[in-house]
């Protein structure tokens, strides 16, 4: 099973109702898999809006997930820090993480490499997935914990899972 299919199955296992997202080439097959299921998707204009929309969905009883790149999560720091976390609005985030192994673009490094630490500083739980194989279980468990504890949970997907650019090779 591909890592993309593992993620889709994990989202279905977790009974996610809505995925808010911005285009990300690395997650193209994941998005296609979701769109072939009963899970709704919403493309937004900026990652802050992905976080806010996912957070807002919680008041209706829905479970929402955010999909974005690490630079996008950096765009959304204030939405997490001054909306989702303090108002206890949970969501699952699936974030393709740039800036570490195989990264060729220095513009991706400060935020991408540093985001796990930033999440720690903000008290936002997260895990960095470096190998596929347990992704279905990880996605399911991250979502279950997010909604059980009413707090956001971020799953970072490293380039060792998603692949990395030809430019670096």
């Amino acid at each position: 099973m591909s890592w993309e299919a593992e993620i889709v199955d994990g989202l279905l296992d977790a009974e996610i109702d809505l995925v808010t997202q911005l285009p990300d080439g690395a997650m193209g097959a994941v998005l296609e898999g979701i769109q072939e299921s009963d899970v709704d998707t919403l493309r937004v204009e900026r990652e802050e809006s992905a976080i806010a929309a996912a957070s807002g969905a919680w008041v209706t009883g829905e479970r929402a997930a955010v999909m974005c790149q690490s630079s996008g999560l950096a765009n959304a720091i204030n939405a997490i820090g001054s909306l989702s976390a303090p108002a206890r609005l949970p969501f699952l985030a699936l974030v393709t993480r740039r800036g570490d192994l195989g990264e060729f673009n220095v513009a991706q490094v400060p935020a991408g490499y540093g985001l796990p630490g930033m999440m720690d500083e903000m008290g936002i739980r997260h895990t960095v997935v470096e190998e596929p194989g347990t992704l279905r279980k990880t996605v399911r468990m991250a979502a279950d914990s997010a909604f059980s504890t009413r707090t956001p949970y971020v799953v970072f997907l490293d380039a060792t899972v998603t692949g990395y650019g030809q430019e670096a090779q």
Binding site: V44, R46, E48, A50, G56, A57, V59, T60, A87, R88
Partner: protein, 182 residues
């Protein structure tokens, strides 16, 4: 000419008493609280610029009317969100932008002058511009009745409400959720 933000907010509640009203941090939330606290008032205490997108998320999961009360400063911060509202195309979502011409919560500094209705239309979101209480009430009734989202830009006089929502931020969305799901 300018409308009264209290009268317009009261008109929202009168026209759609069961609506979830998502209000921007600061003046919009203070006015909403002063008009009357209710279970479905989703006051925000932070995340300036994220109010409208929060409303999009709420509107996805309910058939009830969802009305966003944004401010001109907040909407300026995330003007591209109108494209998301247009993309989501939710018939139960109305966005109100109260344009008081100032950053009301940070000291009254002037905001950029923006034609929000034109900016919304340019992103595929139908919009109307009003500047009186009566015009607002009529525009809001039309917006709620239409089969699709829209934005109302309402020029208002600056105001300095005394009321505040509860400081217990987690309680606010919990109360909305209980009202919608129990």
């Amino acid at each position: 000419m300018a409308a009264d933000q209290f009268a317009c907010t009261a008109a929202v509640i009168e026209e759609t008493p069961d609506a979830v009203v998502v209000s921007n941090l600061g003046v919009a939330s203070y006015v909403l609280a002063e008009v009357g606290d209710r279970e479905r008032n989703f006051y925000l205490w932070g995340s300036m610029g994220s109010t409208t997108a929060t409303g999009v998320g709420v509107a996805h999961g309910t058939d009830e009317q969802v009305t966003v009360l944004a401010g001109d400063g907040s909407l300026t911060m995330s003007l591209g969100v109108c494209s998301t509202v247009a993309t989501a195309d939710q018939s139960n979502l109305t966005v109100v932008c109260f344009d008081n011409g100032i950053y009301g919560t940070t000291g009254g500094q002037p905001t950029p002058s923006i034609d929000f209705a034109a900016a919304a239309e340019a992103q595929g979101l139908p919009a109307e511009r009003v500047d009186s209480d009566d015009e607002f009430a009529a525009a809001y009734a039309d917006a709620v009745a239409r089969d699709g989202p829209s934005l109302i830009e309402c020029t208002v006089e600056p105001t300095d409400p005394e009321a505040r929502p509860t400081f217990d931020f987690p309680h606010i969305p919990r109360r909305v959720r209980d009202s919608l799901t129990e």
